[in-house]
Symmetry: C2
Subunit: 451 residues, 2 copies
């Protein structure tokens, strides 16, 4: 089903990301690690800018949310309380002939697994597929020298539980009053059977989660508030509002702990289309109650002025840092013709605040003092924001290279520059060139970056 | 052996860190996870400030170092090439009677393990201790649905290998010329048998590593350069220079891959004393050569102007984010008397740029418009830097609370403030109070924070 509005750019984007140093396949020289990716020099800056923007919006700019950085390795009882040990499973079937494994709902399987009619999609034998059995998606390892059931620990499949188990510690140390939230950014791991679509679904990924603790009865009001806040945040990244929408979970989709849930979806284009990049969930008191039950500790809020205690409800906002990075890249990717030029260009039209490099600095030609002046300008700007000095090749080619990595401004030192101390600023999106005094350059760029 | 200069403050620091929300025991409500810690609201900001400062100094402020964020899960061959599968081991002994395990060099073991004379330190039986056998310190897990030797992957025990395997991808995508470096910040995991000393040695920790690729023959010059740079960086964090020193690895201490190695050590005080917080290593061509051999790929640098290829040497700087955080806390921790006051105070004298909260904002009393004016000031400052509004309790107690978490400045709105629009700024270290116009406050604070 072709996507009329947004064609599939994924293959070209993957290629650009490798060529220009945004994202590489993990351990590529060894043939890669299954659905794991490394962020290169430009990718790490883009993702860091997104994470810092989230941290500022959710933690530093507010007085009602506290930050946290809980560890990846947690006590194994956490995952019994959360329901992950029993319920975080996918049904798998084995072929007794070729020993391959498949998800029970693999569309290539013909017939009902476990019956004589079922046909293996790999070796083609009939009647060799086992009945489905449950496979837990948590990575497990052993802590300490002995590998036995008592030493099993899991790599966390989500960061949220680190917030719940620290609820009392955070509330008491900060003296926050309800309603308030706890936010964290961190890695999580899921042993997915069918990962894919570049960095969309990976076995190692990074979440930005915030759990907002509220008085029961006010939860739906806060749920609506956070839905709107989070949609605004995605729009603020420069993502086309027409590519963003809410998807409300149907009763069948709702997780057992959820009272209400909406996904923020982005249209990735092509056959992938609209997919979840964030979830906003009203989790009620499920998590704190379960951890209270399993730990034997009171996880309540003490409302001293009113002399009462209660278990808060939780409204969760959970966004993927990798998925948001991918959405920003896909949203910004354009191939277009350039007026008055025979060659077209590829542009990453990403928000200037997210761009890994804020300005390219070029001498028009490699003589007459231009390289010296351009290098001096680059050195002056570098302590304030990331810039890239480039003197190699034709100026048009240097502009194209910066367009392709999303650099919003290019500064050119030309023949006039060395005599009147002016330079040109070229705008990535409008292609307009303004001439400004070199002394005013930093202020001019800062003003443009703040727009 | 008591430390004359710096008494042991660790127990009091651990208590302060929990009470005020710097660092909590992981999964504390379940009895904790072995030597794993969570960073609370103030700790996550302190550690983030340290990491951002490193990233700025090592990546953004330079044009010869590129950033990277490689995944924790890598191809298992990486750890064969690096030598970790064969060599990253500790010798352990078992007691056949009580089934306990110990490091073979555990000082509580009497006699030679494996001989009839050896005595178990736990059950006290003689002759029950096995001969030492090698125990690998890497956490291992299985990727994909089948748990067999073909699906083993490891949690990386260091971030460095993610840089080596990406050397060609980074160099080619950025067109960097030698000498240049690749830097990254990320989690690593070691299944330590004897972790401890709070966040000094933990099973999950965060490294800030930079690998600098140089032409063979220039390596010792760059080694000396990086030794000095890195020592300067630690001093720039405000750490007392007298508590920092170099420790040169003796020939016995040198790792098999190292041509030279110095540790930066910090005096943690008490019996812990001087301990490594950073390592600067000349690793020669060991890593790139091994990965070239194991992957069958060329990992060379092509020096086009001179028409030659070579395998670069590597100078590594590897610093622990957690250890640096602990050093900053220990260095800053002081209990002191206050002139003219009967009660003393506890101060975290940490560098203003690292402080989790830059300013406490207080109304002197809860009336006469002071809370409103103070709250307005807090809201105006919050978008620019983290501030904390507090109106609870006596003003002296509020100052003490901020001293204890390292807040460099306290702003007080008093009776005069509402009439002449001035406030006082109290300096954490000198206790001096200056009166400034509320309109000039943000500039006054920014000027003091930049000192």
């Amino acid at each position: 089903m072709p996507n009329e509005k947004h064609p599939d750019v994924m293959d070209r984007l993957v290629s650009l990301c490798k060529r220009r140093g945004f994202i590489f396949q993990s351990s590529e020289i060894y043939g890669g690690t299954g659905s794991v990716w490394d962020y290169g020099p430009l990718g790490v800056e883009l993702k860091k800018n997104i994470k810092d923007r989230w941290w500022h919006a959710m933690v530093r700019a507010r007085d009602d949310i506290e930050g946290l950085d809980a560890a990846i390795l947690m006590h194994p009882r956490v995952w019994e309380a959360s329901g992950h040990v029993a319920g975080f499973v996918d049904p798998l079937v084995d072929c007794r002939n070729c020993k391959k494994r498949f998800r029970a709902d693999d569309p290539r399987i013909k017939g009902e697994p476990g019956t004589p009619d079922a046909q293996c999609p790999s070796c083609g034998m009939k009647g060799t597929l086992s009945a489905p059995r449950q496979f837990n998606l948590m990575f497990k390892t052993y802590m300490g020298p002995v590998e036995d059931t008592a030493s099993i620990v899991y790599l966390r499949p989500e960061t949220a539980q680190g917030i719940y188990v620290n609820f009392v510690n955070v509330q008491q140390s900060t003296r926050q009053k309800i309603p308030f939230g706890i936010a964290q950014i961190g890695k999580a791991f899921r042993n997915e059977i069918t990962p894919g679509n570049f960095i969309f679904r990976t076995r190692e990924f990074e979440q930005m989660e915030m759990q907002f603790f509220v008085e029961p009865g006010t939860d739906m009001t806060w749920f609506e508030y956070w839905k709107e806040q989070r949609m605004q945040w995605h729009r603020g990244l420069g993502i086309d509002p027409a590519r963003l929408r809410f998807h409300q979970h149907t009763p069948e989709e709702l997780a057992h702990y959820a009272r209400a849930a909406f996904d923020v979806q982005f249209d990735f284009g092509g056959t992938l289309g609209f997919q979840e990049i964030e979830g906003v969930h009203n989790r009620g008191d499920f998590d704190l109650s379960r951890h209270a039950e399993y730990s034997g500790k009171k996880l309540e809020y003490v409302d001293q002025p009113n002399n009462r205690r209660f278990t808060p409800y939780v409204v969760e906002t959970s966004v993927g840092a990798d998925r948001t990075t991918l959405a920003v890249l896909v949203n910004g990717y354009r191939e277009e013709s350039v007026p008055g030029e025979s060659e077209g260009r590829t542009v990453l039209a990403i928000h200037p605040s997210l761009a890994p490099v804020k300005a390219g600095i070029f001498p028009l030609v490699k003589k007459d003092g231009m390289p010296e002046m351009a290098a001096r300008i680059a050195a002056d700007l570098r302590p304030h924001f990331p810039v890239f000095y480039d003197e190699a090749g034709a100026i048009g080619r240097r502009y194209r290279r910066q367009d392709e990595v999303g650099t919003p401004f290019c500064i050119t030192v030309d023949g006039q520059s060395t005599s009147d101390n002016t330079v040109t600023i070229r705008d990535r999106d409008t292609l307009a060139q303004d001439r400004v005094s070199a002394d005013q350059l930093r202020a001019a760029l800062q003003e443009r970056l703040a727009r």
